[in-house]
Symmetry: C2
Subunit: 322 residues, 2 copies
Amino acid sequence: MPELNHIPTKEDIEINHKKIADYIHQTPVLTSTTLNTMFSSELFFKCENFQKAGSFKYRGAITSILNLDKQERKLGVATHSSGNHGQAIAKASQKLGVRATVIMPKNAPQVKVDAVKGYGAEVIFCENNLASRETTLKAHISRTGAIEIHPFNNYNVILGQSSCAKELIEQTQDLDVIIAPIGGGGLCSGTVLSSKNFGQGVTVIGAEPKLADDAYQSFEQQKLIPLASTNITADGLRTSLGTKTFDIIKTGVEDILTVKEETILIALKLVWERMKIIIEPSCAVPLAAVMENQGFFKNKKVGLILTGGNVDVKKVAHLIPE
Amino acid sequence: MPELNHIPTKEDIEINHKKIADYIHQTPVLTSTTLNTMFSSELFFKCENFQKAGSFKYRGAITSILNLDKQERKLGVATHSSGNHGQAIAKASQKLGVRATVIMPKNAPQVKVDAVKGYGAEVIFCENNLASRETTLKAHISRTGAIEIHPFNNYNVILGQSSCAKELIEQTQDLDVIIAPIGGGGLCSGTVLSSKNFGQGVTVIGAEPKLADDAYQSFEQQKLIPLASTNITADGLRTSLGTKTFDIIKTGVEDILTVKEETILIALKLVWERMKIIIEPSCAVPLAAVMENQGFFKNKKVGLILTGGNVDVKKVAHLIPE
């Protein structure tokens, strides 16, 4: 079966987490006395920047491919991605001996193309627009029969991502709230499902850049509103929600907070300099939400998911304010 | 008693480690499949960049101050340092309610001065040379009676630093060798003592930049040879060995390896980009030693101590090669 036909249940999540346990890192949860003091909260950072292939996306990728049957595995998998999902699919496929094809825009940074190829996947280039990506992907699939693995609007992917918040809940005690950044919503909807099923009262808050607030708008109006084209620091969040993820998020999150670009950069600097870890700009969004809402988070135990660390360190260091 | 009057014994190290356990972080040991594959070794990175005050120096600082008696604590502590030792002394003193004074050269980076002051210590400025540092420190001590805590040539400091390798040995299994960078030799001599007492056959290798190879020269000739002035990337290692540290190192290490500046920078890039953690250039020296001696380390289980992460991230990112 290529994909679950329903929203993952508690049992689905438990079974899958056991199934993927040997393939993923149970990433550490880091804390910082300095940041706790600074914001009068207890902050627990779930470090998916240390995950295999450098981001939480590996959880969804390995789940999707492990759940393919023998015949489907033979056909290979395909996706379009210029980011972490592509790397995750490439690495998970390599691990399981499945052929993978990643459609990438022809202007994708060489380092990202190299990473995908380095994991043994085939790269097919397309024009740098969604239409070209989808057409190229469809053409490849109809030619080869490859199984498409969508980066977020896929129940197996959501199932995989849910293991992240499940671990975070198990690694901490009495969390009040988990903040997950929202791009396409795969991580956030997985976080909603695990919090509901394992969290004993933990609520979920989504966080996104003010300049890419499609999830906030969709949540407020309770209908899916696509993201207009935007140029933001947190480039990993430049994606609209999907129907499946929005369906889970629209009633599952307590709130969606939007944050300013300046705050994202200060949060990024704090994590790099105080916590001594390399995160992508997108990962700084949950901490930025704490910074802009200190009254709300005061004295709370807050889980923050740091989604990934695949960056050109020189380029990102350049963004960090003095 | 301000300082042990003998080389720390197994019992000293065990007692002290229990005593300081609640004050320090038991820092994590990270591994990277990518780096293991790249160098055909099993590498275990002890992450003292996550230690309180951002470096292993906190272990020696808290040990030294905890071992002062009531009368001595009233007099306060003093040291000269423009680096991690100063921050560690300041933070440990603040924690224990002891007054601390740090002598710093007047051209010390503002960020370092701010860090020391931020932990509540007094800063006295001096000229930027060793004579002025020592004179200023002595004047302060004779005026106030403050207890000097030398950054490395002090048995309590060595005792504190030894807890780092003890933890690394306890957190891993069957290590063959631990590589410690050598500046003044406090960490390396502590590593020698813990490896001998707890390591079941683990050997210690010192690593230093070829351009600051005083430890290598001293080890080869079995006599203390001071470091000539030098300008190196790994600025934390721009220090000569002390009599007490050399005494332990000269027969305690298996070998001292020196590494090229170019290799240090490539190792730095690998740790930042592949392991997603921020380390100081000095920390890259042990990995550089593995890179330049792959035949020797092949198929071995190697512990590497990452000593600290107190950097201006923009400045260090600038050093990283494309």
